[in-house]
Amino acid sequence: SVAASPAALRRLADDLFVEARAAAARRGTPDLTFMEVCGTHTMAIARYGLRDLLPPEVRLISGPGCPVCVTAMGDLDRVIALARLPAVTLTTFGDLIRVPASRSSLAAERAAGADVRVVYSARDAVEIAAAEPGRQVVFAGIGFETTAPTVAAALLEARTRGVANFSVLGLHKTMPLPLKALLELGETEIAGFLLPGHVSVVTGSAGYQFLARDFGVGGVVAGFEAHDVLRALLSLVRQATPAIEIEYARAVRPEGNLVAQGLLARVMEPCDADWRGLGVIPGSGLRLRGEFAALDAERRFAIHAGEPLEPAGCRCGEVLRGVLDPAECALFGARCTPEDPVGACMVSSEGACAARYRYRGLDD
């Protein structure tokens, strides 16, 4: 992919500057609050320093789209409990390693002797299981509709190859419903959504239509280059009537990836899921179907995780709902820092708190 030239970006920024002012005036609000749902967008905005290009009328807040940040404490504790079982080799994406669970983290468990391994792909976890038949290899299945089909494909491969010592702890979540929950809470004035690019590669854009239809809030599916984000914001600002558009047309089709959707549906089914900061949202999670019970870590192991313990004073939930700027949290930057994170939004390199921490001091 080719990155835009500075001149093109400057032109997009200039247009956004002019049109955002007009849009705010049209709406009769001092500014426009857009929510970038996806954690990878939060990272791209931070990495390219895009906040410098935004006009004063445009405010970007981070939504519940970072798979680490939204994982509830109870779920994290179950991953820790599994990692402690002597027979288990707990495999996971790197994202989870440092996240503080109620009383520990995977990094701490590994240091204490647990067999915790980072993998780049769920397929690698299946390979580890095939290579080490004596171990019970569990994969911590976090992530949204982009990642869930890859885990489903790995499960199918494990079953086909008869890799009986492989199992998945299904903690996957799906995207459109938490946005509905956010809007129903009505706590913050969201003028539009920067919709997740790679989730939409799989799901398509149809699943977001309710945002415009039922709530009158527009959304644009955006890519992850600097020009993608600016073009998407421009589309949002230009929307006379709320609509769902695709800026990231080179990768996202309205119907999405039907093969991936089909494969996912064969292996997993919707279930209720507990979201940090949003609580349980019916039908917003994915669990393994009964047909795959043999590969479901939930059923293979007796997981005793104890009562989840939310860190005192941690307000990640409100940050995730876009109603609290991280700097307004009492722990921010003092008790809670990237080196010594309290909440998940500070651990994840693209959590709202981590991104906000990195900007402190330079312009304050």
């Binding site: 032109r11 920024a13 792909s121 997740p196 047309a249």
Partner: protein, 97 residues
Amino acid sequence: MCLALPMRITMIDGQLATIVADGLEQRASIVLVPDADIGDYVLVHAGYAISVIDEDEANETYGLLAELAEAAAWEDSRGRRPETGGRLDRDGTQEDA
């Protein structure tokens, strides 16, 4: 929520494809994009190709950006630039606010 990188397919071996980006080669599963072919660009996430990139759309996007760059340059030469609040002067260096 999901890092993915556009990579080009150079070889297909059943459900696995050899894919390359600039100076990088890897094998990824194409089980989620069965009709992807050699020479296609695919988006790769966590070891799986999740979409075939639409070349026309990609070219259109980059064409638009090139036009924007030219428009910006042309307007610069005419000295007509909408006010951008001093964030960026013309050669991309930031004026100290």
